[in-house]
Amino acid sequence: MEKRSRMECVLVFRRIYDAPIERLWRAWTDPAELGRWYLAGDDHVIHFAEVDLRVGGRFRVSFGQPGKTPYIETNRYTEIVRPTRLAWEGELTVDGRQVPGGAASVVELIDLGGGRTELVLTNTGDEDLWRHREGWIPCLNSLDRLLAAADAAASP
């Protein structure tokens, strides 16, 4: 049989913000700033944010629903290019237990001029990051689109 090639699950988010690139950079790298928005749900609060802004340095944010056991996201910077590029790998834990599906993230900031900045966030889950789960997770680029169509096709 043919060789099993490496597969990745990639999700890309693009947003344009009405703020200069340096402002965006600060929002992503200043712990006080991160502590005001780096949540993971609309009903979340942020408990703390720590940043050690150097390659290999850690950034850690705790967030969650008020009164519930907090999530702790622990990331390690793999690339820092002020003010255009920030990359890290990380994991999420709740109550000391790892939440499946660790990932690598890259934030790219593009100065659009006129005080506007485009943000491109690439979130990648690859085999290695998946191994702790149930083995290999099959993914395709743009699989989300495919899955939506598959659900529609599978339902009678």
């Binding site: 949540l39 993971a40 599978a154």
Partner: protein
Amino acid sequence: MLNDVFHALADPTRRILVERLTHGPASVSELATALPMSLPAVMQHLAVLDEAGLTVSEKRGRVRWRRLKAEPLAAAEAWIGDRRRLWNARLDALERHLKSDTGG
């Protein structure tokens, strides 16, 4: 099972087949016409997809059809769904944060 699913999807021809089947069930000959390969080769690929549980074959009259089964992709879908929710909430929060501040 996930190993089989992964293996099945690692091949570009089989991904084309899966993508085609997302539009609805298709007969083997219909699937074969879109691909630059022989009918037996296409049937081999379909057998791999069947084994992985990604597709099921059913006979309607004298024609054999394939349709997609969504369940094996559920794990991947869960990952995508979780990430999408998380990052959309986060990027929305960033927007609110940038709007709320006065340049500080």
